[in-house]
């Protein structure tokens, strides 16, 4: 909140240090500064390196990299084979189905999780009976730290068979058979499991923000005869708005980068689910960007494949960097109020 305050003593006592010529402090400052510098330099180098490795793929495809056209899986196969057989490298890659899948899964999960988390956090902080609150808080923290592969396991063993056996009819399966198979590994499964995975993260952040709302503001509203729900909704939730952005950004970054779990439940096909298909849309398999990297890691020894995978990584890196910029920008107004950590 007020970081500057801690620099004060140093500034005030600066003359003392100079008088005594303390080199110990300066050495420590230099040493720690160097450590920080090295870590930052390492991260910047990583950024530059990923972009550098990604460049051939972007350069060959131009803006078409982000567009559609042809089958992504066949393109990946061709890219890999060209490098493996040491023929002229092929770079043609149109990633739209993967990007579309990433967008659908991420936005779907974040949208559901946001609405649910908002109400659950309000419930947990304000309306739940105390005994339930005491149970809920540790449970939220536990669920937020459960490894994603465990959610993936639950998805692939429970949800995917359920969708495959009960929600999809034989007729629907037959109607799309030549192109794709509706086995239950689907958009719906990925979105639902991802929602369950990121909701606890959101709830934890939201609840922290709601708890930090000054009690007096709420009591002021209650004293005016406004009911508890309206008070909390109009005063509490509104005050904590920046926290909602911050929590959503955090959860979106997790959803975007989740590779292993999504690769288990979304079905490993580079297919772009088509909303025109009606209800089947939700049951169509797809494969987002992060899962594509996991699916093709064994082909890294083929140079064009390596560049293509790095291009995918660069897109993910750029998106998550943009997200943290948004998160940072959202935090600025709340510094001004000094309400929220």
């Amino acid at each position: 909140m007020d970081e500057d305050i801690f620099l004060e003593p140093d500034r005030e006592l600066g003359f003392l240090e100079r008088d005594r010529g303390l080199s110990q402090d300066q050495r420590a400052e230099l040493g720690l500064g160097a450590l920080v510098f090295v870590v930052v330099a390492l991260l910047v180098a990583m950024l530059a390196f990923v972009l550098h490795e990604a460049w051939p793929s972007f350069a060959h495809n131009g803006i078409g990299w982000f567009g559609g056209g042809g089958s992504v899986d066949q393109q990946i196969q061709a890219i890999f084979t060209s490098g493996d057989l040491k023929t002229a490298p092929v770079y043609t890659f149109h990633a739209w189905p993967l990007i579309w899948s990433t967008i659908l899964i991420t936005i779907g999960a974040v949208a559901i999780a946001f609405v649910a988390s908002l109400f659950i956090a309000v419930f947990m902080v304000e309306f739940a009976p105390p005994w339930l609150r005491r149970i809920l808080e540790p449970v939220v923290r536990l669920l937020a730290s459960v490894p994603s592969v465990i959610y993936g396991l639950a998805g692939v063993l429970v949800l995917v068979p359920f969708i495959g056996n009960h929600l999809i009819t034989q007729g629907e399966k037959a109607s799309v058979t030549p192109t794709i198979q509706l086995s239950g590994s689907s958009l719906l499964a990925a979105v639902l499991i991802l929602t369950v995975m990121i909701a606890p993260i959101m709830i934890a952040v939201f609840a922290d923000g709601l708890r930090a709302v000054p009690r007096g503001w709420l009591e002021g509203s209650l004293a005016l005869g406004i009911n508890r729900w309206r008070t909390f909704w109009k005063v509490g939730v509104r005050t904590a708005r920046p926290v909602f952005v911050a929590g959503t950004v955090l959860a979106t970054a997790r959803a975007l980068g989740e590779a292993v779990m999504v690769s288990m439940v979304s079905g490993g096909v580079g297919f772009a689910p088509n909303p025109v298909d009606g209800l089947i849309f939700f049951f169509e398999p797809s494969r987002p960007l992060a899962a594509t990297i996991i699916a093709n890691t064994e082909e890294l020894n083929s140079p064009p494949m390596k560049h293509t995978l790095y291009a995918i990584a660069a897109v993910l890196l750029f998106s998550s960097a943009m997200l943290s910029v948004i998160g940072w920008a959202a935090k600025q107004p709340m510094r001004r109020y000094g309400v929220v950590p």
Binding site: F37, E53, I120, P147, L153, W328
Partner: protein, 318 residues
Amino acid sequence: MSTVPTAAVPKRSESNASWRLSDRIGLGLAWLLGLLFCAIAAAIVVYFLVEGIRYLRPNLLVTNPAPGLSEGQTGGFLDPLLGTVIVGVMAMAIAVPVGVGIAVWLSEFGRPTGLARLAESAVEMLAGEPSVVLALFGTILFTVRELGFLSQTSHGIVLGQSFFAAAAMLSLVGLPMVVASTREGLQAIPSHVREASYAVGKTKIATTRRVLLPAARPSMITGTMLGLGRVIGDTAIVLLLLGGTLTFGSANSTPLLGMLRGTGDTLTGYIYYNAPTGDGNQPSKAYAAAFVLMLMVLALNLGVDFVVRRSQRAVRWS
């Protein structure tokens, strides 16, 4: 929790029948979703508990994975379990000193301001970075010839998969947690504590070491545990940089170093391998491993709770 009302909100005796419809719907939705969340959480926990107890046998913990088709042949998960412990310890051995160093510098020194801003945003970015990108970066970094001593080399090609490689990249996963938590702890110490220490002639670094860091220890431990939770839960880095080979593949016969330079696996990699989508497809083994991993995460959570609760009873400044 510090904002618990001193004057409690007056008890409502009136029914909410007089509320507007939208308010009643909102409250009802909050209750509904809250209870639904409880139900889902309970379902997940109970499901893994039941399946875990059903499939977990003591001998799974002491036998190694083996190739096979039936449940009897595939053995247990001793090596992945050890791998999780080793990787966790190694990654935190890097992340904690570096993270605490960064936090101290950011909170106590922080000049030049430009570098501080840059470091802050770099750490924040690292927290949101997909681990699969870190893993992909690691595959190139550790196949560089100069870093060949960290992994195995065959026919002049550095394989780049080892405990060292995985732990180095996993430490980046744990680092942001350690930095954020330690920094929060340091900033919660009021400035007059520092001034008191300066006033008796302590240098800044002595103050940090003798006063500030001990006072911020609960935060450091919390951050370490949260980071460790992320580290042992990561799968992408394990698959790419540790090899996901089920058993340890030592690089050479040197006892410890050879093993750490070799490939291995962790529980997350083992679960991935044994899920229906993996190559092993032994769901019962995956359930058992997931149960053990859940217990580890639960223990870490309880540890955090314990540390936080104890620190609340400890020193009160001012």
